[in-house]
């Protein structure tokens, strides 16, 4: 491989500005945040808006189907391997850029209101800008190590932001758990990179793809690499069995949950696999694994979501479930559909989280839905926008979620009927628990204390404006990917087609589904969703049921409400034994065995010394005697041995 030369490109300036602006915001707020006060929020938001503008510039100026590489410098190299600081701008990157900077800007704006009275206001925006910087590095890099910088960097920011209120040790525990679980995945990512370096001598996406193509379909090396990378994705994107950090991550301020733990960071795993689509399409076995893990996660999380009572926890499990759905799409080789769901999900899930934040804000910090109810009357904008988000995630046309979900379900039907059944079931559950959340929060009458009720207020404009923008997007954004029955052009697929062109030739697409079949599928999906909504409506609005208190739970529902005791199992199987082992190593092996041996050596030496000292008695007679004996022995040796 030759040293990468610095290329000049007319997109150079906007490209480097995109990550640099949030970095600049981070530096300004980090150094002068205390003095800037509330201005730091506006600085951070402006930086990100400018970044968004640059992303739009790239969107309009990158030739259709083209890609640009912008090289800054060689980061490091050894032997014949060069690892540059370089950016790759192609449609996939731009898609992620628009999502990250666009939704990121709205969430920054919202945070100015949400965090207004927090003493760590400027620190919050410092971290938030740093997060965006790393997220941008993650999606813009042209090689896996650049992606890994972003990958670990967003993990760090996630750690800092989950534990933002660091006086609370429970939050700190959640933060630490997130970091460590992600690190487990990161080891997989690292091993994947080692394999690539070993076999291809490069980490650049395009060269790795070339190397992989030379190896051919089903090669064991590619299976190894893709599986290792997928372990990284399982950590970052909260898939079974590494998902338990995400629900705990809700300890962070709500805008963080919206930005990091719903819209952007957690989709990094999907981005990574889409980015490596050629590798994955060469490894059908890995795709099967992804499909199984994704499907299992989507159902498992949806079931847990049914019985959660914390408004953010419901949304968290819903995120895990939706991420599972995206992985299922990737597992079927439908990379565009997975990415399409990333985009639509980013809008409506950010909307839902911010809406939940607005509810929590209105209720002076209350998160338990059993203490809510009837809020629709008081906070109308929040309610209206939240309703839109809920409908969107439930897959009701023409809202955004419908289109992306429908696409995945249609693919699943072609791929495997059982998978289709499972995914449809999960979607049905989604519609149920989301409307359960909506009804418990906004319908019937208020169940909290009068004190709280007295304070209920709509959020300020700076918070409701992002909600409204996101709501509009959640309605219209689905139209970039209309199903074949409605339109012949799928603009999103067309836009990304150049990225996935090569894997399409490796994995030929199935035949086109008949229109009547497709109508039947759409009808079934929508019918099931409506059925669950009706069920939820009957249960929580007509019968005005509220979930029972935790102590009254029993049987299966207790198991589900306690998240199948997965945390407890992990604790017993991994955490406790390691702690035990640690004590064992120190007390038994280190102190007892090794140190005892060391001291034994010293002890023996000193005893031998003590013994030998006896010979040094000072008696001349003894010395003479010893001398004579020695001479006799030496003579004897001379005579009997040497001859």
């Amino acid at each position: 491989m030759t040293e990468t030369v610095i290329q000049t490109s007319n997109l150079f300036t906007p490209t480097i500005l995109i990550p640099l602006l949030p970095l600049l915001g981070f530096i300004i707020n980090g150094l002068f945040g205390k003095k800037l006060g509330h201005a730091s929020g506006w600085i951070a938001t402006t930086m990100l808006l400018a970044s968004f503008a640059c992303s739009l510039f790239l969107f309009f100026h990158l030739p259709a189907g083209g890609s640009e590489t912008v090289v800054l410098s060689n980061w490091f190299y050894f032997k014949d391997i060069f690892i540059p600081f370089a950016f790759l701008i192609d449609p996939l990157t731009i898609t992620m850029l628009l999502v990250v900077t666009g939704i990121g800007s709205l969430i920054h704006l919202y945070s100015i209101g949400y965090m207004h009275d927090d003493e760590g206001f400027s620190r919050f925006f410092t971290y938030l800008n740093l997060f965006v910087f790393f997220m941008l590095i993650l999606v813009m890099g042209n090689n896996y190590l650049m992606m890994f910088i972003g990958w670990e960097g967003v993990g760090l920011c996630s750690y800092l932001l989950i534990g933002f209120w660091f006086k609370n040790q429970a939050y700190n525990d959640a933060a630490k758990k997130a970091f460590i679980m992600n690190r487990i995945g990161d080891l997989g990512f690292l091993v994947g990179m080692f394999m690539m370096l070993f076999h291809f001598k490069t980490l650049n996406y395009d060269q790795v793809a070339i190397g992989a193509l030379n190896l051919g379909i089903g090669n064991i090396t590619i299976v190894g690499i893709t599986l290792a990378l997928f372990i990284g994705a399982m950590g970052k994107s909260a898939q079974l069995p590494l998902y338990t950090w995400l629900p705990d991550a809700m300890a962070g301020p709500t805008p963080v949950s919206a930005l990091i733990h719903a819209a952007t960071m957690v989709t990094a795993g999907i981005y990574m696999i889409a980015r490596s689509n050629i590798l994955y399409s060469l490894a059908p076995h890995t795709l099967d694994v992804i499909l199984i893990v994704g499907t299992a996660t989507t159902i498992f999380a949806a079931i847990i979501g049914l019985l959660q009572n914390d408004i953010k926890k419901v949304l968290a499990y819903s995120t895990v479930s939706q991420l599972g759905l995206m992985f299922a799409a990737l597992g079927m080789g439908a990379f565009e559909s997975g990415m399409f769901h990333v985009v639509t999900h980013a809008f409506f899930k950010a909307l839902l989280f911010l809406g939940a934040g607005s509810v929590i804000h209105a209720l002076s910090g209350e998160q338990d839905m059993r203490r809510m109810g009837g809020l629709g009357k008081y906070i109308k904008i929040t309610f209206a926008t939240f309703l839109i988000g809920t409908v969107a995630i439930s897959g009701i046309p023409p809202f955004a979620g419908f289109f992306s979900k429908d696409e995945i379900l249609a693919t699943a039907f072609e791929h495997n009927k059982i998978i289709w059944g499972l995914l449809s079931f999960s979607s049905m559950l989604t519609a149920f628990y989301m409307f359960r959340l909506l009804y418990l929060t906004f319908s019937t009458s208020f169940r909290g204390t009068d004190e709280v009720k007295h304070h209920i207020h709509e959020s300020p404009m700076v918070m409701t404006l992002p909600l409204m923008i996101l709501a509009v997007c959640s309605i219209v954004v689905g139209f970039i990917g209309l199903p074949p029955v409605l339109s012949h052009t799928h603009s999103f697929k067309n836009y990304l087609s150049s990225v996935f062109a090569q894997s399409k030739t490796i994995m030929p697409a199935g035949h086109e589904m008949s229109h009547s079949m497709e109508w039947i599928l759409i009808g079934t999906a929508v019918g099931l969703a409506l059925l669950s909504i009706a069920f939820a409506h009957n249960k929580y609005v007509m019968q005005k049921q509220t979930p029972v208190e935790d102590e009254q739970l029993s049987g299966l529902s207790k198991v589900v409400a306690n998240k199948f005791y997965v945390d407890e199992i992990y604790n017993a199987v991994f955490v406790k034994p390691i702690m035990l082992l640690s004590d064992l190593f120190l007390v038994i092996i280190d102190k007892l065995i090794i140190d005892l041996l060391v001291h034994a050596v010293a002890f023996i030496t000193s005893q031998v010394g003590r013994l030998l000292r006896l010979f040094q008695s000072g008696h001349l007679g003894f010395y003479m005697f010893a001398m004579v004996i020695s001479m006799i022995i030496l003579l004897a040796v001379q005579i009997f041995v040497v001859i």
Binding site: I149, K167, Q169, N172, F194
Partner: protein, 487 residues
């Protein structure tokens, strides 16, 4: 010639320091170490200058006959590896001196004189190209640190220091025996490094000599199970002593592996590499696991240091260019980070009087600036990308991966375990509500802030711009790699 000046500055400073008193000694030592650092920068430019090798060599190395029989030469010089270690030493020395400001210390003139003497000996170890000369410096380095630990240490210092002294001395004697053997078994009867790397000792004897050297280094590094002197010594030595030991002195062992073991006894090395690597990475995981439950701040860092250097040793023994180069880069990074963590521990212990992490907590509330520096150093230790230790760790693991992929996976557990114990420690010490034992936490003094800020800057500087260092050690890594193959 230039190398000689590098040796003389600390030696002369050490003598002058004896005649000064009080605060003046500290200032003098600071000036001396900074001058040394400035001179190192100059030497670096000479080294990098595009001169012919003979010209550079003429400027840097010096070879005088010292004793004729046995043949011992005063042979000093600099190559990429030596220079890296000299840079590490001279970069850390001003920080270590600076760490002593604003602290009450008795008999400062002796203490700083000893530190400078140690500085001299350390530089000597790294620039010697004659086995005997190297051995003299190696032993000389032990004497000042012995007295520093003995006189200015904490509880139990006499027992702990004695154990440390005898343990390392015993190892050194084995090495001396090894050198004597080499001397008599080489045709030229010379211990000059170049001659030694061309010896023709048969493989039947190399294995035996390998262990002589390896044990000396394994004790110094330390590689488990030869580590039990270390946690106690680190926690009872005065902070500046611990910084000297962990930051620079244990690098002597790692450096010596590359200088005096691998290229000198390639066949012995090849024979025992699998055992040594297994020992190293079992040690990595073993030490990391112990660190998880440690409650004493200094001991926790001691075990974490054992894990880190174990990985470096494993990577070196993987016997490929990435492993060697990664090991060298990581020595620099580890030196900086370990000095950082021990200094943070010192600041905490100095202010709260406690090193038990269970009695600490909430320091971030009281001193957010300190919290920021500390988290940067913690992140450097857990090898986050863009910090200095990431590139070294990446290359080491890659080197191990080429040696054996399962070995890399096993040693890679340090990526996870490192995060576990460091974050747990940070959470207990810095986060949460203010613990009742920590009601007052004085703001950082100027010298403390200066040390921490410098370390923080170095962590990012070497993480983002590692090229100069990689370029410095690339040729020598190749050379050692070639020499380490069976001749």
């Amino acid at each position: 010639m230039l190398t000689l000046i590098l040796l003389l500055i600390p030696l002369i400073a050490s003598i002058i320091a004896l005649f000064l008193r009080g605060e003046l000694v500290k200032w003098f030592s600071l000036v001396a170490t900074i001058s040394q650092l400035a001179f190192t920068v100059y030497v670096f430019t000479v080294f990098k200058a595009p001169n012919a090798p003979e010209v550079t060599n003429g400027l840097l190395s010096l070879n005088i006959d010292w004793i004729n029989s046995p043949k011992i030469n005063f042979n000093i010089g600099l190559d990429g590896m030596s220079l890296l270690m000299v840079i590490l030493t001279n970069l850390l020395m001003p920080l270590i001196v600076l760490a002593g400001f604003n602290r009450n210390q008795e008999r400062t003139h002796i203490m700083y004189s000893l530190m400078l003497l140690m500085h001299f000996a350390l530089i000597g170890v790294f620039v010697s190209f004659d086995g005997f000369l190297y051995y003299i410096f190696w032993e000389l380095a032990l004497i000042p640190i012995y007295f520093i630990s003995l006189n200015w240490g904490g509880v139990n210092r006499a027992t702990v220091t004695l154990k440390f002294f005898i343990y390392t001395l015993a190892g050194s004697l084995l090495m001396l025996f090894g050198f004597l053997f080499l001397y008599w078994n080489t045709a030229s009867h010379s211990l000059s490094w170049v001659d030694l790397t061309m010896n023709h000792i048969c493989s039947c004897k190399q294995g035996f000599i390998f262990w002589m050297f390896f044990l000396a280094y394994a004790i110094k590094i330390p590689i488990i199970p030869f580590h039990t002197w270390q946690p106690d010594t680190y926690s009872s030595a005065p902070t500046q002593g611990t910084m000297l030991l962990s930051g620079i002195m244990l690098k002597m062992g790692l450096y010596s592996l590359l200088r005096w073991l691998l290229p000198v006894l390639p066949m012995g090395t090849a024979e025992y590499t699998p055992y040594v690597i297994a020992m190293c990475f079992i040690g990595v995981v073993y030490a990391s696991v112990i660190a998880i439950m440690q409650t004493d701040l200094k001991k926790l860092f001691a075990y974490s240091s054992i894990a880190h250097v174990g990985l470096i040793a494993a990577g070196i023994f993987a016997l490929n260019v990435q492993g060697i180069q990664g090991g060298l880069v990581q020595m620099l990074a580890h030196g900086i980070n370990v000095v950082g963590v021990f200094y943070c521990a010192d600041i905490i212990i100095n202010r709260t009087g406690s090193s038990d992490i269970n009695t600490l907590g909430g320091i971030r509330v009281l001193s957010p600036r300190f919290a920021t520096y500390f988290i940067i150093i913690v992140l450097g230790s857990v090898a986050l990308p863009l910090t200095n230790s990431f590139i070294g760790e990446f290359m080491l693991l890659l080197g191990l991966f080429e040696y054996n992929s399962w070995a890399a996976l096993f040693a890679g557990l340090t990526v996870i375990l490192g995060a576990v114990y460091m974050l747990r420690m940070y959470q207990k010490v810095m986060l949460g509500d203010v613990n009742e034992n920590v009601t007052v936490f004085e703001d950082l003094k100027w010298n403390e802030e200066l040390v921490l800020a410098t370390i923080a800057i170095l962590i990012f500087a070497f993480g983002i711009f590692p090229k100069p260092i990689l370029e410095l050690v690339a040729p020598i890594s190749e050379q050692i790699y070639r020499l380490s193959f069976v001749r």
